[in-house]
Amino acid sequence: MADEPYAIELRGICKTFGSIKANRNINLTLKKGEILALLGENGSGKTTLMNMLSGIYTPDAGSVFINGAKVTISSPEDSAKLGIGMVHQHFKLVENFSCADNIWIGARDKGFLLKKDRYKIIEDMASEFGFEIDPRKLVSMMSVSEKQTLEILKVLYYGASVIILDEPTAVLTVQETRKLFDVLRRMKESGHSVIIITHKLNEVMEISDRVAVLRKGEYIDTVVTSETTEKKLTELMVGRKIELNINRPAPNKTKPLLEIRNLTVLNDEGSVAVDDLRFYIRGGEILGVAGIAGSGQKELCEAIAGLRHVERGKIIHKGRNIAGLPPKTIFEAGIAFSFIPEDRLGMGLAPNMSIVDNVILKKYKYGTSPFVDRKSGRVEAEDIVKRYEVVTTSVDAPVRQMSGGNVQKVLLGREINASPNVLITAYPVRGLDINSSYLVYDTLNAQKAKGVGVLFVGEDLDVMMELCDKIMVMCHGRLMGVVRAVNTNKEELGLMMTGALDLVNAKEDKPAGIAVDSALTLEEWEREIEAEDKEVDKND
């Protein structure tokens, strides 16, 4: 080693969880002042490996060298002392502390008392790296991207020279991602090393110097970014050639299946989450819903599925107002709902129960017998496992034991087996690898071909622009416009998502979100809404 030692070098790292080999003989090098992208499918062991660097797990075998010296990392403190900082996917911040205090609580050497000058110190440091952040702002008032900035600032403050970011762009808009990348480049210039985990190949190409690829817990190769292509990386990651285009069959549109007018819904805290929203879905089309995380997507989906109270407005399904009906009735009317929350298991599945028990979740009550019909549930579960290539030991295994992708397939399979006419699917590929994602896209396209109206709430604009026929953009629960996917670009969508561009009244003859051949005529709608307003006034 004639030149400088590596910032981090891993040799022969192994980690086993029970019978699962999460990491097998991994070798990895990180140069000083470089950005290394860590690439791999779901379950390829990226997060496990990084968790060993940050001291959450200890490796079963293998050794870690930092700046050429062999070290043992057995706790997060060790890791911090060695100058490694990790920004997790789920932020670890105290919500009702200010920015500066969140940094301060972790700094043990700063003494017992809170000093007034902490705001100044942190502000100076932020401006040094070019962060825009107010040290006095409470975390609970921050946007997702501000919180992320704070997390990065925090690890920098603790003196990290190596920063690990676990899927940092999953929750950001295009503009915010660009800002983050600027920050990363500045950090690189100042001599920091960065490891970034991401699924998005275009980001890998844009930001990284080198790419390390893992596959099924094994180290495959490290390549120099400028000497490779997205296609080559995918092949390394998947282990075989793969087609990278999402199909978009021409829509075979029918009359509007689901029309939403003047919909207002509150969030759990009681503030307005969906604000006077209107849009419609026709049968045989995929309507994308774009927006920054937390712009009312969840509340919108829940309102349609009958899980959330509708404050005001109408949800007309095949000419019938379903707002306020119980979830069971809405499901039986043919509106299926699959929502993949951040933790992937929170809604729609019972994690400790078997696949069979999860498949029967929505129809266990059918029939008059007091007993649950698991026999037909088992047949259906086996069918889903076969059709969607779910990897599991048996249909009786708890859902929790499966990897995220397989869990999502079970959920989507159940909703599609109910043969819906409207399919609401939120973040169906959240955290999925390329293979599984394409299977989901194909499944959604198959539904579209069958004349189902699909509402696709997504986070990856590239995917939405390729898969969806139209994209509706929300900002703070408000409609910003509906655009045709072929006629738009990421910049336009990004501007709409942040509220800088409002295309609702862009076309003079037709406001966005109202179908020309609506199930109700304009006069009827207006009368309905007026009547409802009067009722509200009366109640007040």
Binding site: G18, S19, D60, A350, P351, N352, M353, K362
Partner: protein, 366 residues
């Protein structure tokens, strides 16, 4: 350099579990043996008495079995009832209080319905116990659903309210207090009239109480209820994820109210059985079943067959310790409690070794 760390075990652990539990029992009995030796008692004799519950060489062996069942039946019923609510992640730790409420309401019927035919009185006693205790469970569940109170605290405090209310009734001589004996100067709970005492089927000299038969039938019913019925399925889903239950269109609050009613009513019924079998009530009649039941439910991982086994073994331990201490004047109930505590503690600790394994970390030299 080597370092120890913990790894979660996977795969079939039943055999390992049994081995670990047996080892735990052996260790605690070993410690007990040292204590016994220091008291000058031969531990082998003591333990053989304990494990046979005083059955062997006993002319009145049937009495021992009856005594054992008096410990076993309430514990079994309470554990199953608690498992119902635990399965829903509703931490009902009010078993003690619910048991006493059931017993006191049954007693009120017993004292007041003197002269009515036996079966009628007994059925009324059971109904009174189940409804009164069930309503308390319902009240706790209502507070939880309506105001999101912490059910652990509410049920815990309720135990003390009920306990001290029972003590008050038991120590207050007053014209209104029909619970106490009229012929005694000292305040004493009265004996039930004959028509309120649990009858049984005579097998030789052994009296198999109907309450025992009913509790066995209830075990089967609860097993089927949890495993195969729609209501049992609902309990499992609510316990696993409330959001998912709502998403599936379940009326979560209704399910919580219903399940807590059933859970508390079963415990109340256990109280009525216990009161009727011993023909009186007392503040200590629960024999800690409300607390031990929590341990039984967890040890058996909330499975009904597991509860049957665990409740059987723990009752055997309780009753065996008691029976053995009777033949040794140096030893009293306290030693029995000490033994029981040590064994339970060791078994719970060994659970750790069932779940995790300790491995040595290897580092490759390079």
């Amino acid at each position: 350099m080597t370092k120890l760390h913990l790894v979660r075990r996977t795969g079939n652990t039943l055999l390992r579990r049994i081995i670990c539990y047996l080892a735990a029992i052996a260790i605690s009995m070993g410690i007990g043996a040292i204590l016994l030796l220091s008291l000058g008692i031969n531990p082998l004799d003591y333990y053989s008495d304990m494990l046979t519950v005083g059955l062997i060489g006993n002319k009145y062996a049937y009495k021992s079995v009856e005594g054992f069942l008096k410990v076993f039946v309430p514990l079994l019923m309470v554990s199953m009832a608690l498992a119902l609510s635990f399965k829903m992640r509703f931490w009902n730790i009010g078993g003690e209080g619910e048991f006493l409420i059931g017993a006191m309401c049954a007693a009120a019927i017993a004292y007041r319905c003197d002269g009515m035919p036996g079966p009628v009185v007994l059925i009324l006693m059971c109904l009174a116990a189940m409804i009164s205790s069930g309503l308390v469970g319902l009240a706790v569940a209502f507070l939880k659903c309506r105001f999101n109170t912490n059910e652990t605290l509410v049920t815990l405090m309720m135990n003390y309210i009920v306990l001290y209310a029972v003590k008050y009734i038991g120590e207050t001589k007053a014209p209104w207090n029909f619970f106490l004996r009229e012929d005694s100067e000292r305040p004493l709970f009265a004996k039930f009239p004959d028509n309120a005492i649990m009858p049984g089927i005579m097998i030789g000299r052994f009296n198999l109480l109907y309450s025992v038969v009913i509790s066995v039938i209830l075990t089967v019913i609860i097993y089927i209820y949890l495993k195969y019925t729609k209501q049992g399925y609902e309990i499992a889903v609510v316990g696993d994820s409330i959001n998912t239950a709502r998403y599936a269109g379940m009326k979560v609050n209704g399910i919580i109210l219903r399940t807590m009613f059933i859970s508390a009513a079963l415990i109340g019924l256990a109280g009525a059985f216990s009161a009727s079998a011993s023909a009186t009530v007392s503040p200590s009649m629960t024999n800690n079943a409300g607390w031990t039941g929590i341990v039984v439910a967890w040890l058996s991982k909330l499975s009904i067959p597991g509860i049957l086994v665990a409740a059987f073994l723990i009752s055997l331990l309780q009753y065996g310790c008691l029976a053995a201490s009777l033949s040794y004047p140096e030893i009293d109930q306290n030693f029995a409690d000490l033994m029981q505590g040590m064994i339970l503690f060791a078994v719970l600790m060994s659970d750790f070794l069932v779940t995790f394994k300790i491995v040595r970390r290897k580092e490759t030299e390079s």
